[in-house]
Amino acid sequence: MSKRRVVITGMGSVSCFGLGVEAFWNGLCSGRSGQARIRSFDSSQYRSPYAAEVPADILQREDLALLAGEPEESATLLATLAAHEAFADAGLLGVCKKNMGCVIGTLCSSSQVFESYCRQFMARGNGVDTSPDPDRCLVPWQLEHLVQHFDLQGPSTLISTACSSSTDAIGCATDIIRSGDAELMLAGGADILSEVVHAAFNAVFSITHDTAKPFDTTRNGFFIGEGAGMLVLEELEHALARGATIHAEVLGYGLSNTAFHLTATSEDGSGEALAIARCLADAEVEAMDIDYINAHGTATRHNDLTEIRAIKSLFKDRLPHLAVSSIKANIGHCMGASGALEAIATVKCISDGYIPPTLNSSGDLDPELRVVVRTGLAHPILHAMSQSFGFGGACSSLLLGKPVLHGRRARSHRVREMV
């Protein structure tokens, strides 16, 4: 019996470049960076006052809040807007979605509300007060709002594996479809700039004091970003039957724990390589078939070295033909949402046959690694990977590809034309 195949039929995003996947992709392709002085809190006391926040009007516009069902929590607002776009892209707006589920990945969702809750608790001491809403303080608020707002009654859950969260979420949603528990799933995540997290990363010197330069010998860290990425995943035959546009296929995914250190990546990259190897095995694709890797590429001293070791351990013979890039110098490190946004970028790379350059980088950290820098690369891509590594040793890897239909790679993603 053949494995049920999972394809991506809708995408939506909110990023520092604005609303929508088009704005997101155009920002990447034009080499823009969203890094700017933080406006949402006083950052003057921190080593770096910079981050990549979403445009202020997105969080302030009443029409967008109404469209999103007034979630009264910023990450949830972004998630709902991105989900709305993904459903529109998939042709599912106004369609009953009660058999659909949702898997979300996030790190900082509801953190602003919880910070406010803590400040009230400290100021007032004991004495129960339901403001802010205690449910909005907890990270599942994002999931609960999405399932209620879109009436998603299928299998749904929330994953929080730090920076690996939404890559893991996409994999989990894929499994749910493969197992036959659903034909359609919403997967992705949203995160917002949290002062506590910004302060924390500044305190441990992970934040850059100038710009992020992934895979560059002069790299000195990242800046935090915020945003949301959502994908509609669908069983292939279900998508074909309704004439959906197929953006890409989710061929496989893999997870691991490095079991090395609570916060640092491993020395030799072996733990990280396990996730990548499991992804390849799950997809039944060889390392020699991979054309592009959207790297975790945080531009920290430690991560980039570890990631290179992990890549080289598995792709040694493929390196001359393997393109690698990171988009974190453009949009910042969006914490739990980074995986979903990077997956969308990877899908766009596949569909457009183009890889935007890794901003600010010379790519000179390892001469064997073919990092796309300075100018973008027109590059036909059949198989691409997106990987994320997080605190707690969490590693996740996703393999995407052009869907193969009737024994041929689709040149066009308009399935109705193909059939």
């Binding site: 400040r119 691991s256 079991a259």
Partner: protein, 395 residues
Amino acid sequence: MRARHSVCISGIGAITPFANGWQNVFAAATTALPAYSPWNADQDPPCAEARLGLIREYARERYFNERQLRLMDRAMSLSSTAVGLALEDADLALGEDAGAGDEVAILMASMRGELPSLYRFGGPLFRESNGVLNPALFPTIARNISCGQAAIRFGLRGWSTMISAGEISGAHALARAQGLVASGRTTVAVAGAFEVLSPISLHHIRARSRKYGREHLFATPSNDHVPTEGACFFVLESLQCALARGCRPYAILDAALHGYLPAGKDDAVDPLLQRHAHGRNARHDDIDLLLTGTAQASAEAILEERLLQVLRQHASPRLSELRPRRVFGDAGSLTALFQTAVAAQLLSDAPGIGGGCMADVAKPNDQATYSSALTTALTDRGAWCMSSLQRVGTQ
């Protein structure tokens, strides 16, 4: 499609306010209802009768030395200790052989387990805008850091994830672990949940209770609404592998089904049950043990009663019903897991006597053995999960 493997529970590790180690916990749970301690005056109790289930003692040094323990928060040490107890119970001594844990998955869950450390770390910033944070505490605010701690201690480099979906989290982690083993991605998975209580989490629990009109329930004499903390972990294995290494599994764990109920939920029960029956490729009349009782708010209690009415109509005439909440209290993400643990114990070769004080007092249970159990979890946010277990040898 990959061949599906039968998945068994080969080990259980638990830390509760009244006992540590699963066999001790089960023995205590079936002997007498725990007398939880009063909610201290300095923790702003909702009423004079309110109680808490706090863990005073557990075998902290069983797997860690003092230096290691000083670097951990309570969530990390509780969860890692319970993981160790589960591995011991399954007779899997992983920490001693390098690489032995490379293919062992670790999946954790918690509803609010990170709140104490997040509050502690962010405290200087919450008090004053230019407060200085302690970088050494930074790792503890990551929701999955306990997962990382257990992975490091026992060398677990398999598939790894952290679920944080409210009260249903523990059930989801177990369901996902079952799927990983069933699909053959891993032969062994450790899955479970932890909860820790602190002033900020108690304040939050009270705030939620007040929001849902349940504050008066803190005064009731039953344990159902006593906030408790603890940890509970399972070792899941393919049945074939477990039997091959001479293990005596507790029970077979079937695939779970879960979802969310819409507003106005009364008509959602029958389709939900049909989905579950279809997923199990079986009807419900083979079920002779039902474990329920995670519902909190009145709307969910009504829905749960409707669910139970349907199940009672279709289940075995010998059906026994247990409410582990009578013993384990309101344990957040752990509540559904304690249900599963009790079910697994009662399905095993050494079941114990009838469920004891978890039984409905109107229907005392004198059954000695069971063949099939169903656990149901419903939360006040609309999440539901149903999972079934079978006695080994009845497949």
